[in-house]
Amino acid sequence: MRHGFLDKYSDRDSFLHRRDARVKIVAVGAVLVGLNVLRTPPWYIPAAAAALLAAGVAVSRLPLFYVFRRAALVLPFALVIGIFLPFTTEGETLLTFDVAGYNVEVSHAGARLYATLVAKAYLSLAFAALLLATTPFGMLIKALAWFRVPAFFLALLSFTYRYVFVFVDELGRFRRAWGVRYFGRRPLAQFLALGPAVGALFIRGYERAERVWAAMLSRGYDTNAL
């Protein structure tokens, strides 16, 4: 199977693709700090970040909505995590509801905090997606090494990147094998069968780790290097 759901467009050519990975990392890092350092930043900070993001996407020659769709993955989490903020933050009342006889108030400050949280999460992930989509992962690792990120952490990162694809393949095969024998009956029994299945995936992963380790040793890997 060939796929690239993480770095599909990273080997394209554009103004952003051609920039040094180190520069991109610093730039994205600066944007993320600027965006997230204040609890409730003035409106023009997220607005400026959004404008910068739009400009970045425009010069990246990526499919138009790719980055925006990627970043949308964070929305369910951000929306759920902040769900109580509008109700629990004290301040000037914006709206009042009547829920089953209780009076529920939404504060102005709470609503704003909630909106800011979601916007910050969305924009942050969008910048990360833009960085990943315009930088081959290997270059990213090299750049991080230049910044003296510990080798152990980089090894962890590159193994994760490498094997997430293998794992997704395995999961895909597994789902197909499941699909051909599942006829929509007895949902509880099917659910209970999930446990052993997850266990089987874990064991496969464990065995693969042993084989990869053997392959590393075969090529002279020094166990003291990390």
Partner: protein
């Protein structure tokens, strides 16, 4: 003629008690392309893992006259290149060139020498131009050749391949055969693809239940229908 690999009375049982090798005796001449055939579970992979000291059973394994011990595994691993069956086990770096460079870097070679070896091995395996490619963006045939490039980068004297044709299509098998023929040095090809082994190897050994049950010229052994059937190869 010098001997590349000599194995004497090698036995190995996995920690759960399963006996994988039960007294293997085997000699591979230097420069030969040697076939190690056997059915699934015969012990081929376990035997290969002994060639560079990844496993240490009872008995002796000598590489060019030097016994493999715990003390000299580093030296032995430079001389014996193993190519695993699943390229996804061999290729663990984000980019092909980093995978090929992995071995030479572990040897502590200077950067320009590492780069030269990467170029040389990618050229030898017909993978020029894929340096920056991630393994998950390569076909199985390419990944198999990339595994070989990764092993070659250490300039081994012995190259041992585990089921190199597994899951390959016709073209993949042909290209792999041509690649292996073009490589000098001692090669050990383990598997049960008799046509492939027969075409490349002059000598073969048949492994069954952890023992060498037959050894000799490939044309004689692989043509022996009774033998081939008895040991689950056809």
């Amino acid at each position: 003629m010098t001997t590349a690999v000599r194995i004497r009375d090698l036995s190995y049982a996995y920690p759960d008690g399963t006996a994988a090798l039960a007294g293997v005796n085997l000699t591979v001449k230097a420069g030969a392309t040697f076939g190690l055939v056997g059915a699934n579970g015969a012990g081929k992979s376990t035997l290969l893992l002994h060639l560079n000291g990844l496993l240490n059973g009872n008995g002796t394994v000598e590489i060019f006259g030097e016994a493999v011990t715990r003390g000299n595994v580093k030296k032995i691993r430079r001389r014996v290149g193993l190519v695993f069956q699943d390229p996804d086990d061999m290729l663990f770096m984000p980019r092909l060139e980093d995978d090929v460079a992995f071995g030479p870097r572990n040897l502590g070679l200077p950067d320009d020498e590492v780069a030269a070896r990467v170029r040389e091995c990618l050229a030898a395996t017909g993978l020029e131009g894929l340096e920056r490619r991630s393994p998950h963006h390569m076909s199985l045939g390419e990944r198999r050749r990339a595994s070989i490039a990764a092993a070659l980068a250490l300039r081994p004297d012995v190259l041992a391949l585990d089921e190199p044709t597994a899951n390959l299509d016709g073209r993949g098998r042909r290209e792999l055969g041509e690649l292996l023929t073009s490589l000098s040095g001692t090669k050990i090809i383990a598997g049960h693809d008799l046509a492939f082994v027969g075409r490349l190897c002059a000598e073969v050994a048949v492994l069954a239940a952890g023992k060498v049950v037959a050894a000799g010229p490939a044309d004689k052994i692989l043509q022996d229908e009774r033998l081939v059937r008895e040991y689950g190869l056809a």
